[in-house]
Subunit: 211 residues, 2 copies
DNA sequence: CACAATAACATACTTTTGTCTGTTATCATA
DNA sequence: TATGATAACAGACAAAAGTATGTTATTGTG
């Protein structure tokens, strides 16, 4: 290929690698070579070596297609979307899973799931019927957080409020009453960390993740 | 490895492949072989061939690590998140990009971007100040859709309404007036296809996607 | 138990891929 | 325009990976 100013081709190769890797297709050195119309493998290789040296890529040693993104935020995981939260010690039964939605999670192994909301009791908080809330079930819950709670087997989304020794669950809609459940009938399932509303038909990912 | 009942090992291999592929690391035939403690390459290969035959995997012919998930909904792309929509023929200036958010897009090459909403004029539609709307800029806009429009260089999110020969933009908050812009000062930028609200700090992906 | 289908194995061959050594061309800067 | 750094090229070799052929063992079913 034509000679370029120092750094130009390298940046282009980085962009190419990033695109391919995010797409789940790690290229070979020779694929980079041909993608950039280079006549020597070494031309591509030395650029890739430099990108690794600069920390812009990492390499799994000794493996083919071994270049990876160092990015820690790369974990675009799939969270299960449940139609309702089942009773019992919290683990989602496979039968309840509607599908999977992509989320972005920096820390590993957190129990995040999606829940489809019923009713309009949180309307004033911008959570409408049919919306999906993403819930972290391991989260600590604080005053004012929006939480998913289970009262006597019924799942509900409300604002969390501690009053003296009791816990109150506040709706955000004047038409609904404040809930003051007895402690023994209340389970806080998790904290709502995100609200999503799909205004167009979306093909949810339907296949399970792994084992 | 020990003989298993027909289908059992195959399912396990499928799970393994799916997990690896979603993680962006396509395995080789021999990696499958060793992962399952097989003593022959062909043992793994014939299972993989069968998975391809059954349509559970697809294979890029002639390439190493060439197995892929057939899932068309697999394209978890990154959409740019802009703080405001710039004027001019619509292309997003790189300087305006706050970050990138993962989206799920079945069709290829659609211009989808995220926009952070200012103001509470759409409160009753569950779109609050600070929310992110995902916008498809190539979409056809119909009566009742929520759209992003530009009036005289100002960006706004409103409900689209065609009245006779005019276009009206309806807020969803009684405190705001209906907008009846003159056609020459109005540009419909796109249709809102999703609403997101992050209730926790989220590390947006900060690196650019590709050229 | 006979028999077909599937699972697992053993070995060999070809292509792809990673890597190495050395050379030539262009860029940037003094 | 001289010089060091970077970019690109050329050719070769070894390891990794894809693929093929043939064989043996186990499963499922009548």
């Amino acid at each position: 290929m034509a000679y370029t100013k120092p750094g130009v081709t390298r940046d282009r190769i980085y962009q190419f690698m990033r695109e391919q890797l995010l797409n789940g297709e790690p290229p070979t050195v020779r694929e980079v070579q041909t993608a950039f119309h280079m006549r020597a493998v070494q031309s591509a290789k030395s650029h890739l070596d430099a990108l690794v040296r600069d920390g812009r890529l990492i390499k799994v040693p000794g493996k083919s297609r071994g270049y990876r993104l160092p990015d820690p935020t790369r974990s675009n995981r799939l969270a299960p979307l449940v139609g309702r939260v089942p009773a019992g010690p919290f683990n989602i039964a496979v039968q309840e899973i509607e599908g999977y939605i992509p989320i972005q999670s920096n820390s590993e192994e957190q129990t995040i799931f999606g829940l489809r909301v019923s009713g309009d009791s949180m309307m004033d908080a911008g959570i409408l019927h049919g919306d999906i809330v993403l819930v972290r079930s391991s989260a600590e819950v604080q005053q004012g957080d929006i939480v998913v709670a289970m009262i006597d087997g019924e799942t509900t989304v409300k604002e969390f409020c501690r009053v003296k020794n009791r816990i109150e669950l506040l709706p955000r809609n004047d038409a609904y009453p404040v809930l003051s459940p007895r402690p023994e009938e209340l389970t806080i399932i998790g904290k709502v960390i995100e609200v999503r509303r799909y205004l167009e038909t979306v093909n949810l990912i339907s296949e399970p993740l792994n084992d």
